[in-house]
């Protein structure tokens, strides 16, 4: 083969290599999320009420315990499961009983959920039960939001701020 033909051949091999590299480095683009939708994201980390409730120890009972171990209220370690519900525009998108984490079931429940919705106005209602009541909820919140296209609308649970908070 003539020298120039060989150089041409070598050049084309390099060209093929950098063409593959240069292309797959960023093409084809990947559509991760529809442009005309938004995301409603619910995250929470919350400890349910102690299972079996708590009781106050009487003075006599406390007497029998070493002073550094004395606690007025005695609660069981295990926590209750937590029920979470979310409804968007009358559609129940989430209804879940979350079990406490940890081997002893004494850790908080955790949730990380995302629901894609069309951009526009939506009615969202949230409810959470963390006690042993049989019916109804300990926390409830409703709102109407305008979700912009591509918006990431975050809902958290902050009992210290009264329950569900929106962002």
């Amino acid at each position: 083969m003539r020298p120039y033909a060989r150089y041409l051949g070598q050049g084309s091999v390099y060209l093929v290599i950098v063409a593959i590299v240069g292309t797959l480095a960023d093409t084809p683009a990947y559509r991760n999320f529809p442009e005309d939708q938004g995301m409603i994201r619910l995250t929470l980390s919350h400890g349910g009420k102690p299972k079996g409730g708590c009781r106050t120890q009487s003075a006599e009972e406390l007497e029998k315990i070493a002073p550094n171990m004395r606690r007025k209220r005695l609660c069981s370690r295990e926590r209750l499961p937590v029920l979470v519900e979310m409804t968007i525009d009358d559609r129940r998108v989430l209804s879940r009983v979350l079990q406490p984490t940890g081997i002893r079931k004494d850790g908080p429940v955790r949730l990380y959920e995302g629901i894609a919705v069309a951009a526009g106005r939506h009615r969202i209602s949230l409810a959470l039960r963390d006690s042993d009541r049989a019916k109804g909820f300990d926390y409830e919140r409703r709102t109407v939001v305008d979700i912009r296209p591509g918006q990431n609308f975050v809902i958290r649970f902050r009992p210290e701020f009264g329950g569900f908070v929106f962002k």
């Binding site: 070598q10 091999v13 990947y30 529809p34 442009e35 990431n152």
Partner: protein, 533 residues
């Protein structure tokens, strides 16, 4: 190619041919040994150095703060495009090329059946290399903290949250700007430095059992690929996406498919499915060397009575399977050879190097200092004699081939006899002398894998060097060089090889009949002592 698992073999065979064709084409345009397909591991390694060098430069200008990182990358790309920008592009593209070369390298080693037997070590140690390389790439994209990084952060953490190892969903770190954690970012910077360092260590281990590993490509090839990547960097500089903004969703990203190609699969299927697939793939890769049938040729054996401690076998073994140790048999030499059977791939190159592989010795005497029990040097002499005895043409050619290249048995006829070895490097040069001096044939034609593509890495080079008298054992000067031909040919080259043999035959016909015809078995000359070369 030795028998392996039938399922794997059914992929292996077509893959071998799929490589053979481009290998042959590239051999025509690249000078000997430059063929990129014979240098895939070396090219991958070379990419590592480019990535490391450019990375060090980038780190000078990179701001490790979560909010400042993006700006510092923008500065490099735009304000200092001529140097930092080019470095950034090189850093990205060389990383991508590393994956490309690695994938091709693995496919080729697999096609060549290099994943089992004593080679299991190189195969298994490749697995951590894959993981560390991918981790290096993903953490690298994370550091730009642009929309792509945001996408990666969310998807990666969601992916890991599927595993029941973290109590807290770590993806919750990325739900909103105010939940963002600087420490997480610092962890990624740390990982992006640590993973490549571990990668280097893993590569070092990967090559631990390979003598004279070709970890550097030939200069010209290195220059060529560097120039090509530099040109790509100038034509298509690496750029960032818009800065990360956790309050909005990442809608469309320009994924780097070399490193991030699995991410869309998580969306398409599920994190669990992709974890399952990864586990399956990983376990299969790790199990491959031990998939039945586990037939393995017997490793080389040392015969101390014939070993004078010359070290040639140690120097020529491509897999560091021979070592020298103090003499154990009371002979007057200091050292003796010892084979580590776990490392030996049974290529026979050592017996091609041993001065005791001397065919002129009496039949009962013919034992080499080191040889394959399944194919001893005495076997070699017998096979050569038997093959040559059948020749009846007016020129008689002995074709010495290798089991991993063109099938020499297919090229036999009245004037061509063939003996195929585990590697051409197994042929001791005195055998060429023997064949010609005894008139067993009029010419010796040596073939094996294509130039630069020795199946056993070093056999071809040693064969050439021995014949050219550049390496022990030298082919004696008295051997008529015009009666020797060499042509390196792959599995697709039967025809070309036949053509070369035809030309060699024509050339031999023009030579005056030199060698005496053998009449009966050759006389047994008195003991040419071992090592008398």
């Amino acid at each position: 190619m030795a028998a392996g698992n039938p399922l794997l073999r059914s992929i292996q065979r077509p893959l071998r041919l799929a490589f053979a064709l481009p290998e042959k084409l590239l051999d025509r345009v690249f000078p000997g040994h430059w063929n990129p397909l014979y240098n895939l591991g070396a090219l991958g390694f070379f990419m590592y150095w480019i990535v490391a060098g450019s990375g060090i430069y980038l780190y000078i200008f990179f701001d490790t703060g979560l909010t400042e990182a993006y700006q510092s990358v923008e500065y490099m790309t735009n304000d200092q495009w001529y140097l930092a920008g080019v470095m950034r592009s090189l850093h990205r593209y060389a990383s991508d090329a590393m994956v490309l070369f690695m994938v091709l390298h693995v496919m080729r080693e697999f096609a060549l059946d290099h994943y089992r037997g004593s080679r299991w070590f190189s195969w298994i140690t490749g697995a951590p290399v894959i993981v560390l390389l991918i981790v290096s790439g993903i953490t690298g994209y994370w550091l730009v903290w642009d929309r792509l990084a945001q996408y990666i952060a969310i998807k990666t953490t969601e992916f890991f949250d599927w595993l029941p190892i973290f109590g807290v969903p770590i993806a919750a770190n990325f739900v909103a700007p105010e939940s963002l954690d600087d420490r997480f970012f610092s962890l990624m910077i740390f990982l992006h430095i640590a993973a490549p360092l571990f990668l280097l260590f893993a590569l070092w281990i990967h090559l631990a059992r390979i003598a004279q590993a070709r970890s550097n490509p030939p200069r010209g090839l290195a220059a060529g690929i560097t120039a090509a990547l530099l040109a790509l960097s100038l034509v298509k500089p690496a750029v960032s996406h818009a800065p990360a903004d956790l309050s909005t969703m990442v809608t469309s990203v320009n994924l780097d498919w070399f490193y991030l190609g699995l991410y869309p699969l998580v969306d398409m299927f599920s994190a669990g499915a992709v974890w399952g697939a990864l586990a399956f793939f990983g376990l299969t890769l790790m199990a491959m060397p031990w998939m039945p049938p586990l037939r393995r040729p017997a490793p080389a054996e040392v015969h101390l009575e014939h070993c004078n401690g010359c070290r040639r076998c140690v120097e020529d073994c491509p897999y560091e399977a021979v070592a020298m140790q103090p003499r154990s048999d009371g002979a007057s030499f200091d050292l003796e050879a010892v084979v580590n059977p776990d490392l030996c791939v049974s290529c026979g190159i050592c017996s091609g190097a041993c001065p005791s592989s001397m065919p002129f010795r009496r039949r009962s005497d013919l034992v080499s200092g080191i040889e394959l029990p399944d194919f001893t040097i005495a076997d070699l002499r017998n096979r050569i004699r038997k093959a040559c005895a059948r020749l009846s043409g007016d020129v008689r050619i002995l074709l010495i081939g290798c089991n991993n290249a063109a099938r020499v048995e297919r090229l036999t006829n009245a004037e061509t006899a063939a003996v195929s070895l585990p590697c051409s490097g197994m042929l001791p040069p005195p055998f060429i002398d023997y064949v010609l001096a005894r008139g067993l044939a009029d010419g010796v034609f040596i073939t094996g894998c294509r130039e630069g593509a020795c199946y056993n890495r070093l056999g071809q080079g040693w064969t050439n060097a021995r014949i050219d008298r550049q390496r022990d054992p030298h082919l004696r000067r008295r051997v008529p060089r015009e009666r020797i031909a060499r042509c390196w040919a792959g599995p697709l080259d039967d025809k070309a090889l036949a053509g070369e043999i035809g030309r060699f035959a024509a050339r031999l016909r023009t030579l005056p009949a030199a060698a005496p015809r053998p009449a009966g078995p050759p006389p047994a000359p008195g003991g040419q002592k071992a090592a008398a070369q």
